[in-house]
């Protein structure tokens, strides 16, 4: 229900932040004036740009001569989960962070929490070249504004060790077979687990839009896997890769194509498959945090990241899906086929983009808070 008081309070907070920004801008302008006047600022000083994202995601930024051409002192902060970005922005990162890369599902929550600036689409000249199915997603818009630019994507396949598993599992439920007991890998990825097991347990194509009873059933199933079948509930996908490399696990209850690349780098080959129930799909977006210190450079950086050549470099180095259609013909054939760029709609039927559970509900659908409360049962189990 619309709450005028809440809205006014939110606006007051926003105003306070804006006022702070203006003060900072005035102080900055005064400092700049002084340094220019006294000649203290050396002509070659670089602009420090702060970025947050997964390790490897900085590849397109550093490709070519973009950083040097724009006199940028690039300062990356690597994360172990998307949630870490939310925490860091809330804990003082606002006003100090130029660019983040974020899972699309969290964008509405972050926009509601006043952590993001709306994207000025007029400044993204690469936008018409991006895969339209991704740009059209409602979940990356808030109050009619685009909140992030889609730049890479992938699915959450079932990972398995071909040395221990003779044929690719056909169903997610195959990991519950006795021969895999104690050898199943799980990852503490709240939304990722729901994307897959929401569908597997309920049969609904959108595994994130469930009733409260269905949400309980999904978490019960995950608790069963964790307590009876899993080797461990790993903190990150990197940990899962380590466990595959050390032969601790043979199949997984969740996955990511990049895990196969990392594990291969450790000398171990693992494969992945999308079981018959399908899986979740992720799409990461480039977002400008609230009060970003160098917004023009942030837009320039976004345009660079989603341009053809940096996208190609990222796709080939990380075995990732990219969004610029101009890049697709430049990709190695095997890579282009594995992501099925020729039939994106078909791929999206097997691996579905799903929103996070709604923030409010009339009681018929489990909310995001209901999901979090249930997920904590899984954490405790």
């Amino acid at each position: 229900m619309h709450n005028r008081k809440q809205e006014l309070s939110a606006l007051a907070q926003l105003s306070a932040r804006s006022a702070l920004s203006r003060r900072q801008a005035l102080v900055g302008a005064a400092a700049l004036g002084a340094t220019v006047a006294f000649g203290a600022r050396p002509a070659f000083a670089k602009t420090t740009m702060t970025w947050m994202g997964w390790q490897g995601y900085e590849t397109p930024i550093l490709s070519g001569s973009f950083v040097a051409d724009n006199d940028i002192d690039f300062q990356p902060t690597f994360i172990s989960s998307n949630e870490e970005i939310i925490t860091k922005l809330q804990a003082g990162g606002i006003g100090k962070t130029d660019l983040i890369t974020m899972y699309f599902g969290y964008l509405p929550l972050m926009a509601e929490g006043e952590l993001l600036e709306p994207i000025n689409t007029a400044k993204i000249d690469q936008l018409p070249k991006l895969i339209p199915q991704f740009v059209a997603q409602d979940a990356i818009k808030y109050n009619g504004n685009l909140m992030g630019v889609p730049w890479n994507w992938g699915s959450l396949p079932l990972m398995y060790d071909p040395a221990a598993v003779s044929a690719p599992p056909e169903s997610w439920l195959d990991i519950l077979k006795p021969e895999y007991q104690g050898k199943v890998a799980m990852v503490d990825d709240p939304l990722g687990n729901l994307l897959i097991w929401g569908t597997v347990v309920t049969g609904k194509p959108m595994g994130t839009i469930l009733t409260k009873e269905e949400m309980v059933q999904v978490i019960d199933k995950l608790i069963e896997i964790k307590t009876k079948h899993a080797r461990a509930f790993f903190a990150s996908y990197g940990d899962m890769s380590d466990a595959f490399a050390r032969n601790e696990v043979t199949v997984s209850a969740i996955g990511w194509e990049a895990v196969a690349v990392w594990t291969q780098a450790k000398g171990k080959t693992i494969r992945y498959t999308i079981p018959k129930e399908g899986t979740g799909m992720f799409m990461d977006c480039l977002c400008i945090p609230k009060d970003a210190p160098h917004p023009e450079l942030s837009y320039k950086m976004i345009n660079h990241i989603v341009s053809a050549e940096p996208q190609k470099q990222f796709a080939t180095e990380q075995s990732a899906g990219i969004t610029n259609l101009d890049t697709v013909p430049m990709l190695p054939k095997e890579l282009a086929e594995s992501y099925n760029y020729a039939d994106i709609d078909g791929f999206m039927k097997k691996a579905r983009l799903q929103p996070v559970p709604p923030t409010e509900s009339d009681g018929s659908v489990a909310t995001y808070d209901d999901f979090l409360n249930e997920y904590q049962r899984l954490s405790k189990a």
Binding site: A230, A235, D242
Partner: protein, 281 residues
Amino acid sequence: MLKRPAWGHQNWLLMPAALIFLGAFAAPLLYFLVISFWSVRARIMRADFTLKNYVATWSDYYDAMGGTLLIALAIGALTTLLALSFAYAIRFKCGRFETPLLFLALITLFGGYLVKIYAWKSILGREGILNQFLLWTGTIDQPLDALLYSVNAVVITLTYFLLPFAILPIYGNLRAIRPATIEAARDLGAGRWAVLRDIVIPQCEKGIVIAFTFAFLITAGDYVTPRFVGGGAAMMGHFIELQFSLGFNWPMGSAMAFTVMAVSLALVMIFRGLLRRGLQP
């Protein structure tokens, strides 16, 4: 009678340190205490006054808090016991090896926290050094899975990490005990246990309390080690982190943090009281 010195200019030299303490420690703590009574609506903090966060902490997280404090007590007790044994041995039993052994214990502080976690992962894993050794000696015929990704792994890793911090304060107290005192007690007929109970432990009581406090409090607040080697053994820190990140609920996270802090401090005070009572003649 000594005259109390007036507030002199030399005291002003303490001001920078006091300001840093107030600004970097006291003020943030006060901020989190204040917001622990606030609420969250539509992902935004509202300046209310409510106790519901504290009530929810006890009603929803009593099990996680109980588990966390039990693990912290176990690690605190184990670390203190090992530290006391090690410090006593190098102080009174190892002669000229005293300094090299102390240096050996402290040199482990140079390794990073995460490096130690990953080192223990490679020691305790299914194909780790320990399992390989046990297989080689014929002690086991199948690798032990329970060594890693379990509470055992959390206890082993944190005890190893905390040991140098616990050794130092106890060893510092033991340095003040002259070997001649112990020899005199033995000459007068005191047994080993009597020497330990009546001479050694009373004189290093403060060191023992500090060692236990360090180990207990660091464990109670830790959430990284359980995530990496616990295999899903979620401790209270994990749930607090969840409120600050995915939950967008800083007031709840703050209330949980202050509750754990208060209960932990109470337990430390109880430990201190019990130790003092136990040492009374």
